[in-house]
Every structure is written in C-alpha cells, then in structure tokens.
C-alpha cells in the first residue's frame, strides 16, 4: 500500500504539486493522467524520493524519505521518461545495474544476480541481445530493456514515467500488456504517468487526474474519463466513446464551422 498524504512540491519557488492525497492498494495499477505541466512526473519523482516535498509518502507505513537509497531501490523501481543508455555498454551489463541494490557492499554481481538478469532478459525477449551494445538497439528494444532493468531490481513497486512515449501504437499496447502481465505474475504495484487517456483507461485500475498540480478526480476509468471533466481540464472538446466495453477518448477537431463562428 502506498499512501500519499497532502504532498506539496515546489520547484524554483513555484508550487508544482499542491496538497495531493491518494492511496494505491498493493498490486494495483494507478495511472496519473493530466495535461502537460499537470505534475504527473513530479509526483512520480516524489514517490522515488527524487524531489523534496512537504507532506507524507508512506510505502507500507514507511516514509520513503527516511529510507536509504539502497533500501528504497529494493522496494521501488523507477523507469524515467528519458533513460540514459551509454552507447558502449552491453545489454547484459545494463540489466545487471538493476541488481546494484542487492549487491553486498563493494562486491561484484554473483551467479545468482546473473541468473536473475538472464531470466528477466528471457522474459522480455531480449536474451539474444545480451552481448549487444546499447547503441545498436532500436527505440522499442530500449524501452523493453529499461523495463527489464527495473524488473531485475525485484522491487514490489514499479514507477513508470510515460513508458510508451517512444513507441508506435502497436508497440504501446504490447508494452502495456507486458507491464500488466508482469504486474499479475510478480504481484507488482504499478504507478505510471500516461498521456494517452484511452490506454490509461484500458490498463489501469485507478486513474488520478491532475491539473496544475492538484488532484481533480480519482477513481475508476469510468469515474474519471468523463467528457465534461476532461474537456475542462484539457481545454478542448473531448469525446468519450464506449466501444466493446472499453472507453475510447478522442479530441474533437475544431471544424470549419467553428472557425466561421469565431470570425
């Protein structure tokens, strides 16, 4: 269980997150949604203790700020929006970085660590790439690889910042299906920042809609993905269509009739 209570973050003197409170039950998927600048990434970074904040973030009743980095990395794996991939690092070595928090001080990875990484690479379909250098991988392969590194951490909480931003539509669905399968397989709690509202509604159990750093709505996809709320928050005309039991969120283009009316 992750409990976020009255969290407030200021960057450069300006509030970016304002008194956000939300609870995420274990093994569930919470998607943070909202327009650009709403504070999705900052809230995720707060969960990873990467930014200073007021309020409380408790992970199983333990304050994440009070944990040592090594301890937190065993509980929370974070996939940033733009991970860094040293071009000359081998894929296998990159995934082994995920074992850092499990290594004994000043010790090299053991055969157990290598086995765990090999299993993760196999699960992600990347084992044949183990000795390739990162500079030779495609965007989709990199996306899976950074997920593999996070899984190698064996942390029960997975934070994903726009995990599919670099992928085409087909690969986006594949990647999120994979996250969902892994969540169920490994009993993970997933918190992700997602731009695509349709995908967020299809995969997450709960959505938290942010606007200007404030929590505007939280609940199931049907509770949050409502035309009037989204239209106001995104400042555009939004259609929410139910199709085969799933919600599809689209924006409506300003047609020539609208332009005429403005004139």
């Amino acid at each position: 269980m992750i409990r976020i209570t009255n969290v407030r973050v200021e960057l450069g003197g300006s509030p970016v997150i304002r008194d956000v409170s939300v609870e995420i039950p274990a093994q569930r998927w919470l998607a943070l949604v909202g327009p650009n600048g709403a504070g999705k990434t900052t809230l995720l970074r707060s969960l990873a203790a990467l930014v200073a904040y007021d309020g409380h973030i408790l992970l199983d009743d333990r304050d994440v700020r009070r944990m040592r980095r090594r301890e937190l990395a065993r509980l929370v794996a974070y996939v940033p929006q733009q991970p860094q991939f040293p071009a000359d690092m081998a894929v296998g070595d990159y995934v082994l970085l995920g074992r850092t928090a499990h290594l004994r001080p000043l010790r090299a990875p053991t055969s157990v660590d290598r086995d765990i990484c090999a299993a993760v690479l196999t699960r992600m379909g990347l084992m044949t790439f183990a000795q390739r250098r990162l500079g030779t991988l495609s965007g989709g392969e990199r996306q899976r690889l950074v997920l593999a590194r996070a899984l190698a951490q064996q942390a029960p909480v997975l934070l994903l910042d726009e995990p599919t931003s670099a992928l085409d539509l087909g690969r986006r669905v594949d990647a999120l299906e994979l996250v969902d399968e892994l969540r169920l397989e490994r009993s993970l709690t997933v918190v992700s920042a997602v731009h695509d509202l349709t995908l967020a509604g299809q995969f997450a159990d709960t959505l938290a809609l942010l606007e200007h750093g404030q929590l505007v709505a939280a609940g199931s996809p049907t509770e949050v993905l409502r035309e009037e709320v989204l239209g106001r928050v995104y400042d555009t005309t939004v259609r929410v269509i139910e199709d085969a039991g799933q919600l599809v969120v689209t924006s409506q283009r300003w047609g020539s009739w609208a332009r005429e009316e403005i004139r």
């Binding site: 960057l11 065993r74 860094q84 995934v95 086995d115 196999t122 790439f129 390739r132």
Partner: protein, 370 residues
Amino acid sequence: MTASLPVRRQRRSATPTAATGKGSRQVGLLPALAGAFALLVVAVAIGLSVGAAGLPLGTVWRAVANHIPFVPHPKVARVDDAIVWQIRAPRVVLAAIVGAMLAGGGATYQGVFRNPLADPYLLGVAAGGGLGATAIIVSGGSTDLLPIAAFAGAVIAVALTYALGSTARWDTGVGSPAVGNISILLAGVAVAALFTAMQTYLQQQHVTTIQEVYGWILGQLTLASWSDVGMVTPYIAVAAVVLVACAGRLDVLRVGEEEASTLGIDPARLRLILIAAATLGTAAAVAVSGLIGFVGIIVPHTVRLTTSASYRVLLPVSMVAGAAFLILADVAARTVQAPAEIPLGVVTAMLGAPFFLYVLRSRRAREALS
C-alpha cells in the same frame, strides 16, 4: 534456471554476429589484466636493463635476484648492484606507482564527471601542487620539503574546490536544489586559476629559480629513491584499493546520477569518496614526480578502446597499463638525448597530444560529450 548471463572472461571467445552485435569488443577482466601485466613485465625488464652504464642483461638480473628473498643470491659486482638496485630499480618502481595512480585517477574522474576528457588534475591538484612546490623552491627551502609542500598544496586546492563547489546550490529545474558535478567543475576552474596565478606571480618575482620551477612542473623521476617509493606507497595503495573497490559503482553512474540513485547509489557520497581517494593518490604522485600530463587521458582511453568500457575492467587494467606506460616513457626520457634527460612530462605530452586529438575526434567522445 538454466540461462545465465556470461561472465566477462567468457566474452572474448564470443564471435561477433548479428545476435551479439557488430563490434561489441568486450574483453573480460582476467584476459585484459593478463595482457596489461605482460606489458608491465616487459616494461620493467626494459626499465631495469636500459641505461647509461650498458650493463649486460645477465648482470641486471643477477643484481635483481640479489634482493629477492628465498632465491639464491648470485655474485654481482658492488657497483653493478648499486646501479641496478639503487639507481634504476627505485626509478622503475616509482614510475610504475606514479603511472598507475595517474591512469587510475584519470579513469576515475572520467567516470565521476562522465567526461572523457577529464584527467586527474581536473580539480586543482596540478595548480595546488605547483604552487606548493614553487613556494619551497623560490624561498630556498630544503628540497626535502618540496614533496610535502606539493602534496599539501594539491590537497588544499582540491579540498577548496570541493568545499566551494559542493556548497553552491543549483536549481536543476526538475527537482530540489542539487549539488552537481557542474558546480564542482566550475569551482575547480576558479581555484586552479587562482593557484596558478599565485604560482606565476611567485615565479615572476624570483626569476633566478625559474628553471628549477619549470623542471618540477614538467615532471621528472631523476632523483627517485627508495625513500620516495616508501613515502608515496601508503597513500597510493589506499587510493588504489578504494578506486578499484568502487569501480562497479562507477558503472552505475554511467546512466546519470538520478538513475543511479534510483538503482541504490548515493551519488554525492560516492563522488566524495572517489574524489578524496583520487586526490590523495594523485597528490602523492605529484609530490615525488612533478606534473606529468596526459597519462590520465592516454591510458584509460586506450584501455577503453581496446578492452571494455566497464569500469570493473577499465580501472584496474588502466592502473597496470599506466604503470607500464610511464616506465617506458621514463626510459625514453632518459635515453633519447642521453646523457641529458628530457622532462618526463614532455615525453608523455608528445605521445599524448596526438592521441588526445584522436580521442576528441572519436565517435565515442562525441557520444559522451553530446
């Protein structure tokens, strides 16, 4: 579970294929270390054998054997023994220790600052050591004090850089005010400029000693003795152990400080430990050898390009290769214009400058700098 990631020593046999990646060029720690040690053995043999006295190889080896416990001690003329053991051997050993430290320090700074062009003098060791040495030379102080003053100057300069750099606050724009590499680097530039200006001022005020000051600045091992070896070994040994022990952590830093912290590293603490160890060792090296440039850049990059970019391999192998390189450079320094000696810093720079340009133009440097 049957699958496992291959350990590094198995990689050399891996054939680069479409699956393994074209040019993956990863050499494991053991083969790379074996190669570097082989080079070191050859360098030591050349270093002990080559000199003005023109001693036969057999005499050299008998003189060496005379000082190795638990082996038969053959007869050697006292003068030959003195040439080999009192003149050449300490010089070779000191060159090895200094070369290892400079190469290890360079590799460490390149990892900590994620900058392929960083060298062990980056944070003011050279400027501080130079000021300390110059102060002793121009004041006519005992030459025994010169290494102590150079060591103290180097340590003070880096401590000042770190203190000023780490108290500067930067708003990263994405999080809380962070202490960053940039502020430390900029503080290093400022401190080095200040110390260099003070050294230049002292130099200009005492022009009669300018040749002596330049002799020290350009680096030399002419007066190397076993007492020098004994003096620097504890510092450099401690530094080397810390750097090699932290090599795996440097690999984690390669993905950036923020990602490294989410993987379980405390980047600021690691940086402090590595800078402290590298400074301690480099300052000790500078104290006995003066300022020998380029070793910290040439050697790690050569190792990186020929073995592996992983610091678990790069750091220890660079130290062994650095030892071999400086022994050979010193042989060149004392033989090319014998009986005169070329300053060691000139030899390493003449080899290093073209290599430096090559590194600057390399794809890897561009990737790392981008």
